[in-house]
């Protein structure tokens, strides 16, 4: 009656399929935040495989050894109340495992909620990312430009995304660079990441937000800082201004393609909460020296 064979064959073949499935995006990190998370996930998978092994081995032994068969026909199983030492063992060992994983969790959560350790000395590039219907708006307050459905930033420089929403809750996710964070209408959330390779990364909303949700994707491109500066200058000189009317018509449209503007919506449609340093600015004579932010200002992220 022990027909578990097909079950295990299937599990085994699924594991064999793994490498054939193309890239496991989440386990293919291109920056320190995603790397931390990927390492955490792999560590937890290994620990959990250990737990599974113990349960499965015990399980197979019990089923093979104590199944009803002809040879044990008259056997009367004993009455067993339990055993406090055995029970204490399987309380204590899980507690140790959970304690270990708790330490890992707290440390890694703290790590990814802050600027990655190797980049603490650099000033992060602040980009406001906001969702509306089924599109993403990216405002670059330092450069005074705005893009829709794509975002560019320099490689090897910390980027601080500030997330909020003009509609349903969205979740901002670039799996190869960092874990996700919600964008909500009544508060601003923060996401730190650094890209360590140049290239295009898929980003998307992962929190269901209605009809167009499946298409709510954007491209995140990390480029050399020279290319980034050149692109910013191009945008400033060629793209049109984002007027309030234009922004409102963008919000009202369900889907749009890529858009580029030489000003941002932060002044007339400010993000929720305290963001005055980016809202009172007049972009024509913006002075970057006023924008120096020390690390204390970011302490709210690690509390």
């Amino acid at each position: 009656m022990n027909k578990k064979g097909p079950l295990y064959a299937m599990f085994f073949s699924l594991f064999l399929l793994l490498p054939g499935c193309g890239s496991l995006t989440v386990l293919n990190p291109q920056g320190p935040a995603a790397k931390t998370l990927s390492d955490t996930i792999i560590l937890s998978i290994l620990v959990m495989l250990g737990v599974l092994a113990v349960v499965y081995i015990l399980y197979i032994i019990m089923l093979v050894k104590y199944r009803a068969k002809k040879s044990n026909e008259g056997y009367i199983p004993p009455h067993e109340e339990g055993n406090k030492w055995l029970e204490a063992t399987w309380i204590a060992i899980p507690i140790i495992i959970v304690a270990f994983l708790s330490v890992v969790t707290v440390r890694t959560t703290n790590a990814v909620e802050n600027v990655p350790a190797d980049y603490k000395d650099q000033k992060p590039l602040v980009i406001y990312a906001s969702s509306s219907n089924w599109k993403w708006h990216f405002s670059y307050p330092e450069e005074g430009i705005e893009t829709v459905n794509y975002v560019n930033f320099p490689v090897n420089r910390p980027v601080e995304f500030r997330l909020y929403s003009f509609g349903p809750i969205a979740s901002f996710w670039i799996p190869q660079l960092a874990g996700q964070k919600y964008a909500m209408s009544d508060m601003t959330t923060y996401l730190n990441l650094v890209a360590e390779t140049q290239g295009d990364f898929l980003g998307r909303n992962t929190n269901f937000s209605g009809k167009g949700y499946a298409q709510m994707e954007f491209t995140a491109t990390s480029m050399s800082s020279d290319d980034y500066d050149k692109w910013v200058n191009d945008v400033k000189s060629t793209a049109s201004q984002l007027t309030e009317d234009k922004f409102k018509s963008l919000l009202a449209t369900a889907h749009v393609g890529r858009e580029t503007f030489s000003s941002t919506h932060l002044t007339f449609s400010p993000p929720p909460g305290e963001h005055s340093e980016h809202m009172d600015m007049d972009h024509s004579n913006m002075d970057h020296s006023n924008m120096e932010m020390d690390n204390n200002e970011h302490s709210h992220q690690s509390n």
Binding site: M10, G22, Y66, P77, S209
Partner: protein, 649 residues
Amino acid sequence: MNFDLEKFKVHGEPLIYGAMISIALASIGIVVGLTVFRKWGWLWREWLTTVDHKRIGVMYILAALLMLFRGGIDALMMRLQTAAPDMKFLDAQHYNEVFTTHGLIMILFMAMPFIIGLMNVVVPLQIGARDVAFPRLNAVSFWLFFFGAMLLNISFVIGGSPDAGWSAYFPLASLEFSPTVGNNYYSLALQISGIGTLITGVNFIVTILKMRAPGMKLMRMPMFTWSVLITNVIIVFAFPVLTVALALMMFDRLFGSQFFTMANGGMDMLWANLFWVWGHPEVYIVILPAFGIYSEIIATFSKKNLYGYTSMVASMLIISLLSFVVWAHHFYTMGQGVMVNSFFSISTMAIAVPTGVKIFNWLFTLRKGRISFTTPMLYSLAFIPIFTIGGVTGVMLAMASADYQYHNTMFLVAHFHYVLIPGAVFAVIAGFHYWFPKVFGFRLNERLGKHAFWWIIISFNVAFFPLFILGLMGMTRRMYTYSAETGFGPLNMISFAGALGLAIGFAILVYNIYWSTRYMPRDKTGDPWDARTLEWATHSPIPEYNFAVVPNVKSLDAFWAMKYDKQPLFEDQITKIHMPSNTGKPFVLGVVFFFLGFFLVFSMWIPAIVAGIGVLIVLAAMSFDRDHGFYIPADKVIKTEKKLGGGTL
């Protein structure tokens, strides 16, 4: 009143029109059938007005099976739509409605009523009681659940189904972003059936605390009764939160209040918090009774008492407490900071400890046993390795940092199916096979049962294991389509194949019920499995008074002790037995509530007010009811017992 027929119409596709036609034909068929065979009176006297816990339990299970097929068809439609890239089977709106109702129906109108059904059938018998504490209230519970479920079920042909996910996050579920009546149905259908569930909670707590047979101390209760007691305590603490949240939602959607809106101080995350303060314990409401069912079945078919009874009870108590302090793990990504996330991470992972205790206790119950592989035992045994996968991936998800990568992906979907299907669905199927002969007096066919079992177990893994990998590949949940470049196609196709296999397995299960009803030999012993607990000490099918003589319990597994240690169980004389009378008022209350809900969904105020007054009138009529039931005379009991074979005489 602004009457607008357009609101009722669902402009859909051939699929929806097809469904409308089949619903209409089935309804006509039922009405004609009942009339032709003159069964209206029988239906009313024997079922619609019954207050017998066993019949109410059977009706719960029937309704749950129906909903299993409704939710299963939803699941097949979803897996088909995502089986290949750029599928054109469903459009976005229809897909959104399908996954929303799939979640709602499977949790609230399938898993929970199935468990409440088993509870109704089994618990009074296991504690040696004649009925639940409040039999008429029990009927009220059932009819409120039933008509709440019906209200949700008509939504897809009248006005449109809810489409904001089963968690209905605001502001998406607000009038601004979901202008159809779908989420009105959500708030009202769940409210009506939720009140029923809350009443069940009170009823069963009182039943278990006050109606136990003499000598049945708390620590002599069968494990299923223990799990039901703890579950109902969770219900009583968790459901009022849902009641309040749904009421606020209704105010927002029907009366223009601004609790969860974007503007005017509305807080969208307040909904998320309220929803999960109820929603997380809800998961344990459906899983703890499953633990109880498995404990009964594993002990019975190992021919051993349950290993570590005390630690089994303690671990369920700890799980129930922890279930209330982990809700924020549903939104680690809300930006609540390292401290808060760490607290919820650790409390969530802590649940693994008592759950592990239970797994090892079951494994050690098997040790030194003599294990027979009956169908209910197969489901219980399959539960252990599969649920452990669900459990360890749960620990992985509980790690807040890692969850930033799993949140809302298929990895999460795979995890909760790996927890809920072995944890709740296999359990109710196992319990269904196990207790079926008690209720109907014959077993289900073992060969067909095992066929269905292997289809279900293997297909389950084929359907859901690929989703873990898809999650790590970056596929998010609730996406109705994806492009070929994503590479999600092949694994989704495998998953669809698994879903088809599951459908075949469930079809065999239903065929088994039909086949066994016709051909299986009837069981005269009342104890076909050589079981341990009190419910097997009476006849099958069970006489309306359950036990002719109230049992005197002197140990755990009292029926086993009676059989093998010659411990006397029925020592008293047969005397007259008090029974409650049937009543049609709970059914009428359900109907009136249904209309109240329906009129409110469409903001038809005058009919709604009339229906509201109707509710008050029925409630008043119930409160002033002077029917105190009746007695079955002792000689009639003796006659019945003799006819049934007289095991307890």
